[in-house]
Amino acid sequence: MAEERKRSTGYHLGSVETVISVDEVVEQARAIAQAVDQADLLALAHNDPFVLVEDLRAGYGQMEILHGINLAVARGQSLCLIGPNGAGKSTVLHAIFGFNNIYSGRILVGAGEKKRDITRLSPQSKLREAGIAYILQDKSVFPGMTVEENLWMGGYLKDSPREAKEAAERIFEKYPRLAARRKHPARVLSGGERRLLEISRALVMDPEILLVDEPSIGLEPRFIDMVFDILDELQHKDGKTIIMVEQNAKKGLEFADIGYVMVSGELAIAGKGSELLENPDVGRLFLGG
């Protein structure tokens, strides 16, 4: 991926003229939905998926939210899920990490022969055994621990506490904003500072796969750019695989190699990120016109 990427910054300005109700969005999204078949998805992932989700049915309690989701992303690729609120985007990440009930379907991780079925792996083993890190959509810092301790906890799986501390130091070097508040309990951080902490904490263990739920939520414009720069670096320099959910859809699709549009627990459209950006329906329905 050598070509120069042109990206918008922050939340980007634009008009707010297109006014559609939620129901309308869902209705229209259904209308433009194409049958997304497995082969297309695999093709998008260069037919060498590193993370592969097959016909996943999952939900909370007895309620099925995802009605047969397929997903494929190659190693070092990034994928962005967009869709109206309540479409089930977070639920996909939840399911991959094992936080909800999976009724049927499989989740496979690994390339080629080393593929491994992690459908039933417990959440706490995901990081250790499958190298999956998860940045949750809502608050997940340890409020009573200091910023520093939060980062150390990020390295809980490291062999020795010293390594965790060294990793934390590297992060402080990178983000002086966090360093300035290292001794403060995380509970007093502002919304944006917390987000930064959550993201950097997830990186301490150097995971293979990152599940990121709305990284830009609540961030100031310059931070958004920064977060995406970080993700960019992680993907392109460190070769991480990223599966992201983003409501700042323009930003998300610009960043991601692959974009999926989800509606009501099903895939409606899948394509390259840049293709989706150009798709007028997607623009109208999900990018705010």
Binding site: Q124, K126, L127, S140, F142, M145, M153, Y156, M205
Partner: protein, 304 residues
Amino acid sequence: MDNIWFNIGLLLEYPIVNLKIIIDGVMIGALFALAAYGLALVWGVMNVKNLAQGDFVIAGGYVSWTLAQMGVYPLLGVPLAFVIMWGLGWVIYKTVITRVIERDLFTSLLATFGLAIMMAQIMNLIFGSDTQSVDMHWPTWRLGELGIIELPAAKVVGVVMAAILAIGVVLFMKKSRMGQAIRATAQDSRAARVLGIDTEKVYAFTFALNAAICGAAGAIIVMIWVIQPFYGITYSVRAFVIVTAAGLGNLPGVIAAGLGIGAAEQYGAHIFGIGYQQAIAVVLLLVVLFYRLMRQRRLRQVLQ
């Protein structure tokens, strides 16, 4: 009323009595503090309010007492009770607590209330309802005029052991990785799982640790006071009072509050009469709560 003034007068007339009261209070308080510390742990980490706390203490006491009857040297009862109660705690966690964890306030409160009833009654069926104690046959040192201050060697040793245990647990929580994992789980278990912490193991460990701490406290208590199957409630109430007064998540505060309540109870017992001992503990709790409430109110906040 006259009585009360008279009693206060005694304190002024014989200042050494104050010292005695404080020493006695701290000795009792140290053991309350242990039980409270365990409670603060399970409460903070698992959000389980363990009403069987006092019954763990008593059970630990009976473990040690039984061992002493079998000829084991009583001091060994403390570590042994620690280990055996650890096992019991683990079993209880796996059978009951794991199913009520992370539920709302009252689920765990009631589950453990049920446990408390069962434990007390089973101990009653096994050991009978008479009070029991293990006599160490150690000397008592007397200090001060009239030998007002008594320091039975057993009590001194007991308090020292309590202190060692407390320090050990505090260091463990701060320094060890398990300790850190426990603290992290306490604050956000989902986030802890995302970071690869096996929260189920953390919970089991914490609960077992709590039972063990209580058990050791009970083993000390049986050397210096008496136990009886139904005395658990006394320790449970004190543990709750202490934790609530110290404030959740304030582990060092728990120890201080434990010692403080021990001393306050002794003072209260002296001034108002021992009939008021329990009342004093709870009134003190209410006072602390309301004081904190007023302070919070000035901060335009509530106590939660």
